[in-house]
């Protein structure tokens, strides 16, 4: 076989595989949109489920998922960023840091159902939060903590060292250097971590199973100690254990569509935020 032909074949294979990934994504999206778009209406979005979850809407689940996203971010973000600042900026390269890194990776590889169990034992029972937004948010926060830490560390690493030395050489303290030069430069990439973790949090089912999610709760939460419905769990419920699984099938596709839409919307929003700050960064 001549060189040119083998090149061509190789590139063709790469191209087909590359396009295939996009194809799969569009297939899934198309499938969900095709099956779910029919039930989407103002009523579906803004009302509670009715008739044994075969009609009505999913508003409580949307609100519940948003509460959990916000709650877990409030917890995981500051904690993750500060811990990444410690490992990357302060701790040097000794065995402590290596140990922390390995443990962070291990934390990331724990199955999410185990987080759920742990969250139940610690937050729900031991600390007595009960099945609540607080317990669920903390559990989800723990789950995404490694993602936040790792993406923040990567973001900090991508800040050129010459910024740090430049700042220190002007008499800035290390803390000032981090606050005024390193973090602002890393900020756009840190938001990538935010995107990833928001996507993860809104889609996770297992960690909220025993810590917050309600099977059917048509009213909205009034505080952090309330239970809520959540989109992924609601989806699971109406597919497997509703009063009439067949009849609620369209509701399931509708729920999936809304879930995907929320995640996509947040991703796009975060992308714009990142672009905006990247531009602003250079002149501020």
């Amino acid at each position: 076989m001549n060189k040119k032909l083998s090149q061509r074949i190789a590139f063709m294979v790469f191209r087909i595989l590359g396009i295939m990934v996009v194809g799969i994504l569009f297939w899934i999206l198309g499938f969900i949109v095709y099956n779910g778009i029919g039930v989407i209406s103002w009523e579906f979005i803004f009302s509670a489920p009715a008739n044994g979850m075969t009609s009505g809407g999913i508003f409580p689940a949307i609100v519940g998922t948003l509460c959990l996203v916000v709650g877990s971010m409030i917890f995981a973000f500051p904690l993750g960023i500060m811990s990444a600042i410690y490992t990357n900026e302060y701790a040097g390269n000794g065995w402590v840091v290596r140990f922390i890194r390995i443990m962070t990776n291990n934390l990331a590889s724990i199955p999410s159902i185990v987080f759920g169990l742990f969250g139940m034992a610690l937050f729900v029972n031991t600390l007595g939060f009960g099945d609540s937004i607080l317990a669920g948010s903390l559990t989800l926060g723990l789950l995404v903590l490694p993602i936040v830490i790792r993406t923040t560390e990567e973001a900090l690493k991508s800040v050129p060292n010459s910024y740090r030395t430049g700042s220190l050489a002007l008499g800035a303290t290390k803390l000032q250097t981090i606050r005024k030069v390193v973090l602002p430069s890393a900020f756009p990439n840190i938001t990538t971590g935010l995107i990833l973790s928001i996507g993860r949090v809104s889609g996770e089912t297992a960690p909220i199973l025993f810590t917050v999610a309600a099977y059917f709760l048509p009213k909205l939460p009034s505080g952090i100690f309330d239970q809520v419905m959540a989109l992924p769990y609601h989806l699971y419920v109406i597919v497997t254990s509703g009063t009439d699984v067949e009849a609620s099938r369209p509701m399931a596709y509708g729920t999936a569509l809304v879930l995907i839409f929320i995640v996509l919307l947040m991703n796009i929003l975060a992308m714009f935020i990142r672009r905006f700050f990247n531009k602003k960064l250079k002149t501020n």
């Binding site: 050489a169 002007l170 800035a172």
Partner: protein, 248 residues
């Protein structure tokens, strides 16, 4: 006056500076020359303690700046670095506006209100011979400047906090000849207000701009004398060989 007494410096096991003794005058330009890896940059970085940032380094001896041993425990390193400014080999402006780059040192050191900062930024940019080129675009990103302008911006940034000593680590090595000559002219003008210590690879540059020159080799200060004497009539054979280009 800046003085080094019996300085020995180690990177781990590597003995990078061997028993260095030197005295440098105020309001003069001292240049250090020597082959790569000879220790001249390491020596320069001792005076604002930038070597502290590197792991596993060790120093013995005394570094005296304005009568104080800067390696004394009582020394606050950030205060020292305000007094002893530094310009790096590659221009390293922050990803901020031209104005904010120069204002940065003033802000982190709490040196005055908005009005004072604005004045000081202008003075520093004038002193760094950059003002006329940037006065209409102070809000623009520092990255929009050319390499030579960026380096002068970094000099302005260092001058803003009113140091008395300016360390320059091959400040023109990444610049084109025109930018280089601008930097050299600038160094010449800054001499009346600042004590300048410069490391350079370029011997002609050392000869053009410095009053005193030190020649480093393998971690030792081989020769230190007036620049004119150093280049016309060096005492040591090694110096002679190096400046006539026989090695290095």
């Amino acid at each position: 006056m800046i003085e080094a007494k019996n300085i020995n410096f180690y990177y781990g096991d590597f003995h990078a500076l061997k028993d260095i003794n030197i005295k440098m005058d105020v309001n003069s330009v001292t240049a250090f020359i020597g082959p790569s890896g000879c220790g001249k940059s390491t020596f320069l970085r001792l005076f604002n303690r930038m070597n502290d940032l590197i792991d596993k380094t060790r120093i013995t001896g005394e570094c005296i700046v304005q009568g104080e041993n800067i390696y004394d425990k009582s020394i606050q390193v950030d205060q020292l670095r305000k007094k002893v400014g530094m310009v790096f080999q590659k221009p390293n402006p922050f990803p901020k506006s031209i104005f904010e780059n120069v204002a940065y040192g003033l802000r982190v050191n709490d040196m005055g209100d908005k009005k004072i900062i604005a004045e000081r930024v202008e003075e520093s940019l004038i002193a760094a011979a950059l003002w006329d080129e940037v006065k209409d675009k102070l809000k623009k990103s520092a990255f929009e400047l050319s390499g030579g302008q960026q380096q002068r911006l970094c000099i302005a940034r260092a001058l803003a906090v009113s140091p008395s000593i300016l360390l320059m680590d091959e400040p023109a090595s990444s610049l084109d000849p025109i930018s280089t000559s601008k930097i050299e002219e600038l160094i010449h003008n800054l001499k009346k207000d600042y004590t300048i210590v410069i490391v350079t690879h370029n011997m002609q540059q050392a000869a053009r701009i410095s009053d005193m020159t030190g020649f480093f080799m393998m971690g030792e200060l081989v020769e230190f004398s007036e620049t004119k004497k150093m280049f016309l009539n060096p005492e040591k054979k090694e110096t002679q060989n190096y400046i006539t280009g026989r090695f290095g």
